[in-house]
């Protein structure tokens, strides 16, 4: 296939086709989403691919496929593994027949995440092998090996790239796509697949018995290797190992960890040949803990004695700084950089014409002194508009709202949740809120797509991951089935209409649901929907600033007058807000 310049996730996706994977499932989440986004649009696919409604569902599907003898891949971001943790833990007991690779992409520095958890800890917890690539090429090469390893030990393998692997680019040497895919067949074996206590006790023992051979095999496969070059040594993992390789001074030994569990005997042999060890790894001290267990009285420098940070991501200057502090480098050749101060920030912002902005505007207008729990999606950016008071994890808008309601706060509680998030883990929260008599208003921000992660379809979109037609779920019927009697759908571009519905909801007791339904403005543009642009009639504009405070990036303020720039998508919401009627459609007076 030759060499290509690819995004890490594209290289991973290609490696899956080289591995003869037959089934792929996952839930979108940065930085993991592009793997399925690439695989789902390939022509002449021999594999099955789906976007599942959440990670638990995705993993259980994939596990069953692997039981049937077909190679399966399941992708998610690190926090998705929390959702899938229930099947994950027991999948280690039941094991697999064909290879099952669980890609859990970590996000050190939380570029696009709610926390910085480390998927290697899950592998440790579940006693599953974990592969931790240090470069895009290695990420690519590890995938076929991960499937082989999974089949050899009959265990799911956790593959843990990080943001700087998934969203980096590089020249990658690719292999040939595998020909054909195995056909699955389920062989009944209750002692393996029915984890009643009598069976699971046996399975647990089997899992533990696999560990020593697994540790040895990971060294044999060359994922964990070393080079002795002196009396001091650096042990590094993941992208940290790549930075160390760029900086490694002469006469310093180097051990690279790319797979877990680590063979302690093997590591001990290396450590005992040195007088001083530095450990470089992102996030949890997973390698360092093993190093400390075997190091005895040999000094170890790392997170636990304050030489390296527990948080954030590493970089060349950061690693050089740690090496300098621990005495492995005379001087850090980099500087932290002095960014120019006091520049106006340019954070990500809701798009011009985004339905969320107008929905939030109406919510704030009706519910002035309210509490606003929210959720995970583009609309978390509503924080800038003062209508996001809480965000924890997927689906935690409606549950936090009902919790606050039960805590006795008497203010109105209005929570917001996107359609994809509602279908992911929001339904249970709503069911619970109705069942237990919470007093809340829930607004479903329904843009028909999973927008934030790159516009993946969901059960609300009317099509599957591969573009085949599927029945679009009725959010209205779903909410009513949960027991909500007040369910109203409204177009959030119609501010008056939305305000009227919200006022009605405010008067009612119990759980009220409003579905604010409008296509994502990016999907609309891609679908060729054109609405006329708007402009400001300077004669009528009094410069009152009402439209500017709305916060749309299409509205600027120049010489005491508002101006609509070319980002305008024609949603017409600002025209409705303008008290003097100065904002009109282009070409109209």
């Amino acid at each position: 296939m030759g060499r290509k310049y690819l995004l890490g996730n594209e290289a991973i996706a290609h490696a899956c086709t080289e591995s003869g994977v037959g089934f792929i499932s996952g839930y979108p989440g940065t930085p993991s989403s592009e793997v399925i986004d690439v695989l789902r649009v390939q022509p002449d696919r021999s594999y099955y691919v789906e976007w599942s409604v959440n990670e638990k569902v995705a993993l259980e599907n994939a596990l069953a496929v692997a039981w049937c003898g077909v190679r399966a891949l399941c992708t998610m971001k690190h926090v998705g593994l929390n959702v899938a943790a229930d099947p994950l833990m027991t999948s280690a007991y039941t094991g697999v027949t064909a290879g099952l690779v669980i890609m859990s992409a970590d996000d050190p520095f939380a570029h696009s995440s709610q926390n910085e958890q480390d998927s290697r800890c899950y592998a440790h917890f579940a006693r599953l092998p974990c592969l931790d690539p240090a470069s895009i090429q290695e990420a690519h090469d590890m995938i076929p090996e991960a499937f082989t390893l999974s089949e050899e030990f009959g265990l799911p393998v956790i593959f843990r790239p990080t943001t700087r692997i998934c969203h980096s680019k590089g020249d990658v040497e690719l292999g040939k796509p595998a020909a054909g895919v195995r056909k699955g067949e389920f062989h009944k074996d209750p002692r393996q697949y029915v984890v009643i206590p009598a069976h699971t006790r046996v399975l647990h023992k089997k899992l533990n018995e696999k560990q020593p051979a697994l540790r040895k095999r990971l060294v044999e496969r060359g994922y964990n290797h070393y080079k002795i070059q002196g009396k001091t040594a650096i042990i590094a993992s993941g992208i940290g190992a790549t930075y160390v390789q760029e900086l490694l001074p002469q006469g310093v030994s180097f051990m690279k960890i790319g797979a877990y569990p680590i063979d302690e005997e093997w590591m001990g042999d290396f450590i005992r040949k040195h007088e001083k060890i530095l450990v470089i790894e992102e996030l949890a001290p997973e390698v360092e803990e093993t190093v400390r267990q075997v190091a005895g009285c040999i000094p170890v420098f790392g997170k636990k004695n304050g030489y390296a940070p527990y948080e954030g991501e590493l970089s060349l200057p950061a690693v050089a700084g740690i090496m300098e502090k621990a005495g492995f480098l005379k001087k850090n050749p980099f500087y932290e950089g002095n960014p120019v101060q006091q520049l106006p920030p340019r954070p990500p912002i809701l798009c011009a014409g985004c339905l969320h902005r107008s929905a939030f505007y109406a919510i704030k207008k009706v519910f002035k002194d309210a509490i606003y729990p929210s959720d995970i999606g583009c609309y978390t950016l509503g924080l800038q508009l003062g209508v996001v008071d809480t965000t924890i994890c997927m689906g935690a808008s409606v549950t936090v709202a009902s919790g606050i309601s039960h805590a006795g706060d008497t203010r109105d509680i209005v929570c917001t949740i996107g359609d994809s998030t509602f279908l992911h883990t929001g339904i249970q929260g709503l069911l619970n809120a109705v069942y237990n008599g919470a007093k809340i208003t829930m607004v479903i921000l329904d843009n028909r797509i999973t927008a934030m992660t790159g516009h993946q379809p969901n059960p609300n979109s009317g099509m599957t991951a591969c573009g085949a037609e599927s029945p679009a779920v009725s959010l209205d019927a779903l909410c009513r089935a949960c027991g909500v009697s007040f369910v109203e759908s409204v177009n959030p571009y119609d501010i008056t209409g939305m305000v009227t519905v919200l006022q009605e909801a405010k008067k009612r007791k119990g759980v009220k649901v409003i579905i604010a339904k409008q296509m994502c403005v990016i999907s609309a543009r891609r679908a060729g929907i054109k609405r006329g642009r708007y402009q400001v009639n300077a004669e009528l504009c009094t410069g009152c600033g009402t439209c500017v405070r709305f916060g749309c990036p299409a509205i600027e303020f120049e010489d005491e007058k508002a101006r609509v720039n070319d980002l305008c998508s024609g949603c017409a919401v600002c025209a409705q807000l303008c008290p003097t009627g100065a904002i009109v459609r282009e070409g109209k007076k």
Partner: protein, 194 residues
């Protein structure tokens, strides 16, 4: 230490920094050279400040450390200043004169530097300032602004212009090849004398 030629492309989400970096990567492959890069994905793209790192002949990590970039290509005037500390002392800056003020300036009434103030501050660097928006318009589409910028940067990049043009042809949508090649050449012509 890495002997790579490090280029940082910055701008605002939606301006096409990713395509520009893809063109550079593709051109490296055409010349059989190693290349590493990194970019902003996910929610951070939505109208926010974005960066693409490209390390030509890069063998190790994808990120350019501050003070190490050989070239800074900025699609927006303000973003050039925001990332200026990434540039080496002897590095060069190719900057689109166009300034988009962040919405925060209007909604939070934050003070914003003027076009002249920013230009003045950038003068301490080797600077090539151009009106890429207008040139893109002349080339046939305002969307080709990113390729104009790449063209203007190209005389300072250790890649052959034929490789870059070849990469442009491979990566831009088929219908826009002619416009983008023109945009590249207009940019390159400007960059040569700048």
């Amino acid at each position: 230490m890495s002997g790579s030629f490090d280029i940082l492309i910055v701008g605002i989400g939606g301006q096409g920094t990713i395509l520009a970096s893809n063109i550079l990567g593709e051109a490296c492959l055409i010349e059989g050279r190693y290349v590493k890069g990194a970019e902003t994905h996910g929610m951070a793209q939505r109208g926010g400040s974005v960066e693409s790192h490209i390390r030509i002949d890069g063998l190790f990590g994808p990120l350019i450390p501050p003070g190490q970039a050989d070239l800074l290509v900025s699609f927006d005037l303000l973003e050039a200043l925001r990332y200026s500390h990434y540039l080496k002392k002897e590095g060069k800056m190719i900057v689109n004169r166009h300034l988009v003020l962040p919405t925060s300036v209007f909604t939070q009434k934050l003070p914003a530097p003027t076009q002249d103030e920013i230009t003045e501050k950038l003068k301490k660097y080797t600077l090539c300032l151009l009106d890429a928006d207008q040139m893109a318009e002349e080339a046939g589409s305002p969307l080709s602004q990113n390729v104009v910028m790449l063209g203007a940067a190209s005389p300072s990049i250790p890649l052959r212009s034929e490789s870059l043009i070849d990469a442009v042809k491979r990566l831009v949508p088929k219908k826009t090849v002619e416009i983008n090649v023109k945009a590249f050449e207009m940019g390159r012509e400007f960059g040569r004398n700048c």
